[in-house]
């Protein structure tokens, strides 16, 4: 089936540095999402994005976080500066539309380690 591609799969970065996580959504999907997962536990919503704008964000989406998708390229999550507590697996997802039963397709995640 259609896939969401996430690059890189792993990233180790020094605290305070900037990191950009890249997501290539399903081609005809219009809504994009980032989720954070720590130690295989609960998937925590960060942000959703549609038509070039952030639609909703959670308290976990700190001021150091930003998202964009310039001209249909990668949907990116940027963290600047990074903190130790940002270490987690970040999952990108996309959906065709924003209706109730529009299913998400998730990528395989980017494992971020901040040291």
């Amino acid at each position: 089936g259609p896939k969401v591609l996430q690059i890189p799969s792993h990233q180790i970065i020094d605290m305070g540095q900037m990191v950009t996580l890249n997501c290539d959504p399903v081609s005809n999907h219009l809504y994009f999402y980032w989720y954070k997962q720590i130690l295989g536990q609960q998937m925590e919503f960060l942000v959703n994005f549609y038509n070039g704008k952030v639609m909703e964000k959670s308290k976990l989406f700190k001021d150091q976080f930003s998202v964009e998708r310039p001209d249909g390229s990668y949907f990116t999550l940027k963290i600047q500066p990074t903190a130790l507590e940002d270490s987690a697996v970040y999952f990108c997802a996309s959906s065709l539309d924003g209706t109730a039963n529009s299913d998400y397709t998730f990528g395989s995640g980017t494992r971020l380690l901040v040291i």
Partner: protein
């Protein structure tokens, strides 16, 4: 606060048994409930889902039972196989809002 709760946190069944995973929710506005299956090192993948207008949804060995009045649902995995060993997330959604995930149930199917 936890909008979607799952139990048990972990579950072990023998091959061939039926695994029952439970889920409850708080927000009455939730009207769509997908279940996701996640294997280690992978992203969650949609397994089966149900709309709140239904009380049961079957797909092969997987069945969702839904009780709107009690705000509870359960996923039954019949004839469990070792390959079903994974983490299962109950999730909930309403309208154009985000999917809210439960904390997951880790299922181990022993041969």
């Amino acid at each position: 606060q936890q909008q979607v709760r799952q139990s048990p946190q972990s579950l072990t069944v023998w091959e061939g048994e039926t695994a029952i995973l439970n889920c409850s929710y708080e927000n009455s506005a939730f009207d769509y409930f997908p279940w996701y299956q996640q294997f280690p090192g992978e992203g969650p993948a949609l397994l089966i889902s149900i709309l709140s207008v239904s009380d049961k949804k079957e797909d092969g060995r997987f069945t969702i039972f839904f009780n709107k009045r009690e705000k509870k649902l359960s996923l039954h995995i019949a004839d469990s196989q070792p390959g079903d060993s994974a983490t299962y997330f109950c999730a909930a959604k309403t309208g154009g809002y985000k999917v809210v995930f439960g904390s997951g149930t880790r299922l181990l199917v022993s041969p």
